[in-house]
Amino acid sequence: MSATASRDPDILVDIRDVHFSRGDRSILKGINVPIRRGSVTAIMGGSGCGKTTLLNLIGGRIKPNRGQVLVDGQSVPDLDTDALYELRKRMAMLFQSGALFTDLSVFENVAFPIREHTKLPESILRTVVLMKLETVGLRGARELMPSELSGGMARRVALARAIVLEPTLIMYDEPFTGLDPISKGVIAKLIRSLNENLGITSIVVSHDVAETCQISDYAYLMGDGRIIGEGTPAEVQQSKSEFVRQFMDGLPDGPVPYQHPSSPYVDDLTGRSP
């Protein structure tokens, strides 16, 4: 942990010159992402540009090939299992699918981290769980099973479960994907209010430009494994960069090509290409 000396105490998560590849495919090509304590930071980019990989690096589920991942001054790839699990108690991740345990009710899903990590008496546990369910507006759904929930409700339950141990950092993986406009609005409001009321640092990985810009303090734009733009949401939206423009305006073709790399079309159809 040699690189922790010159750390800015305001930075909770620091990603420095991180490279990551899977087999021959290079996914992250040297990115720097500092994330300020208490902020909502958006990481936007097209599908498959390495956003989720970034979250997995922060959570210690994978290790970078090169570069540093620091969370609260600790170098995540160098932690042993016990230290990593200790750190994870202070961070939460909201998966795209919600990842609720299908054999447990809503109440038990939210109670799960408390039961695993603490010895709270049942009455206090009940209070805590009901408070968290009230925060996400689903106190009345406590008896339901995950299969009986809509997509938006499932994500709210997962959010209640993520905040039940009061983490310092929450990572949201595509929180808006596959939701109707009302549910999107609810989730966006929740992310913002949790950040403001509990002071939780939030990282929102998403390709929903409008919702994400609305709630974030700072935004990074990723493309092809690199950071191609950053700034406050207003700055990013004003950017003149071709890359940023293509993404923000949703243009089908541009610096990110519409076509997957291929041989010339005519050669392919006439069978002349190898």
Partner: protein, 267 residues
């Protein structure tokens, strides 16, 4: 000539790839077993986790085991009677039924049925938990999925299989009695007394129990590993489930031969 050479090298290369792949998976499975075993002490202190799985793996498998045991016992009795009666030895029917069940059929058939009913369910459940990010979610909540999800299921399988095998044998003997004494008029007294005098605790019953414990470990290990190692897609889980049944069945039959050879000591 050249084409033949290419064919030969292709065959050799593919063979090599298969062997390397198999060795790699075996190594992974072995490391996985070590990791699970190191988590056993933690799980033993939370017995409720094992009890829940004992219900899913054991109690829910009970019906198929009891019905199969009954029929296997009845068939054994019928077949055995037809052979024994030629030598005027039908009084030994009870002994024959009991020995076949306790030494061989009880552990083996139970393990095969267990792999088909409980093993495949375990693999599918764990594979789907992986595919739906439940295991990843657990990891991110600082809960080790190996000790929380896999070890209880493994231990439940190890405990359940010998118990199921014992019930299989017991019900099989009753089935043999129904056919032998009830339908074929074998003397009830000799049916039971021959069994009582000649079934030895150590060489017969204990060896059967050892077999079923080994099968329990192997079947549960394969089922849990295949689920955990499954490719997290629908196709991946389907293949993993398939592999669980095939590998478990083959391992059980091969191990049965080895264990029988070791315990009888005639080879």
């Amino acid at each position: 000539m050249n084409a033949r050479l290419t064919l030969a090298t292709d065959v050799l290369r593919n063979l090599g790839a298969v062997v390397l792949n198999t060795l790699e998976r075996l190594g992974r499975a072995a490391l996985f077993l070590v990791e699970m075993l190191s988590g056993v002490p933690v799980v033993l202190r939370r017995f409720i986790l094992i009890a829940q799985q004992l219900y899913a793996v054991g109690v829910l498998t009970l019906l198929i085991i009891l019905v199969s045991g009954m029929f296997v016992g009845m068939v054994l009795s019928l077949q055995g009677y037809n052979t024994l009666v030629k030598f005027g030895a039908e009084e030994s029917l009870g002994l024959m039924v009991a020995l076949s069940l306790v030494r061989e059929l009880g552990p083996v058939v139970t393990a095969l049925l267990f792999a088909g009913r409980a093993g495949s369910a375990l693999t599918a459940e764990i594979g789907l938990m992986k595919a739906t990010e439940q295991l990843a979610g657990m990891e991110m909540m600082a809960v080790n999925p190996i000790t929380r999800v896999l070890v209880p299921r493994f231990l439940a399988g190890v405990v359940a299989l010998p118990l199921l095998a014992a019930l299989f044998s017991a019900v099989g003997v009753l089935g043999g009695h129904v056919v032998g004494v009830g339908m074929l008029d074998v003397d009830a007294g000799s049916f039971w007394s021959q069994m009582q005098t000649n079934v030895d605790f150590q060489t017969d019953i204990l060896n059967g129990v050892i077999k079923s414990v080994v099968f329990g470990i192997v079947c549960s290990w394969i089922a849990v590993f295949e689920g955990y190692d499954a490719v997290p897609t629908s196709e991946g889980v389907a293949r993993a489930t398939n592999r669980t049944v095939v590998y478990s069945s083959l391992s059980v039959l091969a191990l049965d031969f080895i264990l029988t050879a070791l315990t009888l000591g005639d080879i």
